[in-house]
């Protein structure tokens, strides 16, 4: 009986399959048609410069004369002359800038994540004026980085800055502090401005995740008598983790290529330089296109590596049993 049905159906099925494949083909064609423009633009504005940068990193190109260069292999990265090691990988300034950038990213993104969660939880509660608050906290984020860096630069100024003035009045410091010039405090100042600027962005991403959460489980938790802290750590946090991870990756990518904030805010010393500042210095100030390109290529690799590690770590934890 079943086989009879199957036989009767067979031609129909075949027909359907044939029709579907032609349909699929035409769908694929139009899909390609639609994404082709973006692919071409991406190739032109991202792919080509990236490929060129990587290529230049293997040459001795000079900014004065970009058409005249020679292929020198890995010499920009690492080379040995008479038993002496040279190249980017041996430059302590480069490693200082890598460390500065990673430290800046870790500290600022961590603080932004914690503060962002706190702000999002507050904004998620129902209180009068909530809509206005949501708009207001976005203002720091909407101000261009150059502007806020310049603004904070003034506020942190050792003689005329309002911060020193306030701290002096309260009595927390005895003498004005050169916040942005002092190697000990300059990166902290950069972190503070970055946190001021980006916490609201983080909070908004987290808030969106919070609002997707089903409300009934919170009522169930109420009936179960679960304390608010436990509700947060055992219910809310696990449920917003995927969104949180995306937000952290977004912010980390942004922070790892930090340039304008530190460039404008601090006195541009090697103690505070980020990877991007180092690369720009090689490229523009020292006109060493080859070395600058090598630094840019390494930045690209470092960021890619960190993203892969973060994603992998996130996935492992997502997959495992929470018990």
């Amino acid at each position: 009986m079943t086989s009879a049905v199957a036989q009767a159906d067979a031609p129909v099925l075949q027909q359907a399959r044939g029709r579907r494949s032609s349909l699929t083909r035409s769908r694929l064609r139009s899909a390609w048609l639609f994404i082709a423009p973006s692919l071409i633009i991406l190739a032109l504005i991202a792919g080509w410069p990236l490929a060129r940068t990587i290529w230049f990193s293997f040459t001795d190109a000079d900014l004065n004369n970009l058409s005249d260069y020679e292929f020198i292999g890995f010499e920009n990265y690492l080379a040995s002359y008479d038993g002496e090691w040279l190249g980017l990988l041996t430059d302590p300034d480069w490693w200082q800038s890598v460390w500065n950038t990673v430290w800046f990213t870790l500290v600022s993104v961590s603080i932004e994540t914690v503060l962002g969660i706190v702000v999002a939880l507050i904004l998620n509660a129902a209180f009068p004026g909530r809509g206005l608050m949501r708009a207001i906290i976005l203002i720091p984020w909407a101000i261009p980085t150059i502007v806020s860096a310049k603004m904070w630069n003034w506020m942190l100024h050792d003689q005329f800055g309002v911060i020193n003035d306030m701290l002096l009045r309260v009595g927390l410091i005895a003498a004005p502090v050169t916040w942005t010039a002092n190697a000990d405090t300059a990166l902290w100042a950069a972190v503070a401005v970055d946190v001021w600027k980006h916490t609201s962005f983080m909070a908004l991403l987290i808030l969106a995740a919070l609002q997707m959460l089903p409300q009934d489980i919170y009522e169930a938790a109420k009936v179960d008598g679960v304390s608010p802290t436990r509700v947060f750590f055992r219910i809310t946090l696990p449920l917003i983790k995927p969104a949180l991870l995306v937000a952290v990756i977004f912010r980390s990518l942004d922070a790892l290529r930090v340039f304008d904030l530190i460039y404008v805010l601090t006195s541009n010393s090697r103690d505070t330089a980020s990877m991007s500042i180092y690369a720009r210095q090689q490229l523009v100030d020292f006109q060493e296109v080859g070395l600058g390109s090598a630094a840019s290529t390494l930045i690209f690799l470092i960021i890619a590596l960190i993203v892969v590690i973060t994603l992998a770590a996130g996935r492992v934890r997502l997959g495992e049993d929470p018990r």
Partner: protein, 376 residues
């Protein structure tokens, strides 16, 4: 002791008043079902008892203690939500154990309770699954399991079966009835399914627009509805209603003139009703018979065959439609004329205010339609 007593309980959301002073006395171990049309406040009332909403005015007592200001966890209740409300990232075991972890019970104690509940609900083999890997019925059982392990004095159910298919509904309904028998806990159950209400309830509470219309056992509500609303709400298909005039009254009976000329003597206490008053006659579809010499005549508009019985929709003139339920297959076709015999012992009379007239002082609940005596 876990009786639930509501004294003039009211609830307003902002300016909108949703519960208008509810008085209710639910005895320990009783199974009470809230029914009523959508939006009448069933869920709100349940959530007030659970403590998920604040009581605007009035008092709520559980086990003799006033609990208005107690948080849900301290009220000794457990709630089963219509949407199940399972923690999506926890497996079945943790969903049930989570609420216990704070109650200072030991790990072995929790484990014992969870496994016992799982055995009771036959979900032992599902303990490692996440809610999204379960069917609707299985999720519902986990939700009930989570309530059971709390060992509550009062179970609250908000339409727990409405997302299940018909067969699973019957099965889970029976399981809930069994659970009530085993635990003897007080249960309050919201539904808009009549069969669930009739089969599960010790007493049914009929709500309408935030007020209680009637409280009683299922059969009390069915046989002696207190007003038009309850009469129309309980029973399916709905009770037939005919606008009539009182032709005369006697001790323990009211004579009404029927549309179309006939008249009928209904055995109810007149209680102030006088000749000439407008009343509503109510009679269930089962108690209207197609007879040779009925009190009403009409034309069959539609026939619905249900197998064990059939429904006739009869137009009795002037837009009056009556539903007739007769056993077996239909013997009349759409378009044919029939005469309808109303079993007078099963007739209800309602004043124009909607309030029912009490049946004859001594009248017990009628047990079987007795057409010959009513015709006499």
């Amino acid at each position: 002791m876990a009786d639930v007593v509501l004294k003039n309980v009211q609830k307003s959301f902002g300016r909108a008043k949703v519960i208008h002073g509810v008085d209710l006395d639910i005895r320990d171990g009783e199974f009470v079902v809230f029914v009523g049309p959508s939006g009448c406040g069933k869920s709100t009332l349940l959530r007030l008892i659970a403590g998920l909403e604040d009581i605007t005015a009035g008092d709520l007592f559980i086990g003799g203690e006033r609990v208005n200001d107690l948080v849900p966890a301290k009220r000794g209740i457990a709630m089963v939500f219509q949407s199940y409300a399972l923690y999506p990232h926890m497996n079945v075991y943790d969903n049930m154990a989570f609420g216990l972890e704070l109650a200072k019970s030991s790990k072995q104690e929790i484990d014992r309770k969870v496994r016992e509940a799982a055995r009771l609900l036959q979900i032992e083999q599902l303990l490692d699954r996440k809610p999204r890997q379960l069917s609707g019925g299985q999720r519902q059982r986990v939700a009930i399991g989570r309530a059971i392990v709390r060992d509550p004095k009062v179970f609250l159910f908000d339409e727990p079966l409405s997302n299940l298919d018909a067969a699973l509904r019957v099965q889970t309904r029976i399981e809930i009835a069994k659970l009530h028998n085993d635990t003897r806990a007080t249960m309050i159950y919201v539904t808009h399914d009549q069969v669930e209400a009739m089969t599960l309830a010790d007493r049914i509470v009929v709500l309408n627009a935030g007020r209680i219309e009637q409280v009683g056992t299922p059969l009390e509500l069915y046989h002696r509805p207190a007003n038009l609303f309850v009469a129309g709400f309980i029973g399916s298909p709905q009770m037939n209603f005919l606008e009539c005039q009182v032709a005369g009254v006697g001790p323990g009976e009211v004579l009404v003139s029927l549309p179309g000329g006939g008249s009928l003597s209904v055995p109810v206490e007149p209680d102030g009703v006088q000749a000439g008053d407008a009343v509503t006659l109510g009679i269930r579809p089962d108690h209207v018979r197609i007879g040779p010499e009925g009190a009403l005549t009409g034309r069959v508009e539609l026939v619905e065959e249900l197998g064990e019985n059939h429904l006739l929709y009869v137009d009795a003139g002037q837009g009056r439609r009556l539903t007739v339920r007769e056993p077996g297959d239909a013997r009349h076709e759409a378009g044919s004329s029939v005469s309808l015999d109303l079993a007078r012992d099963f007739c209800h009379l309602f004043r124009h205010t909607g309030e029912a007239l009490r049946p004859q002082a001594d009248a017990t609940t009628p047990t079987s339609p007795n057409l010959t005596s009513s015709a006499a």
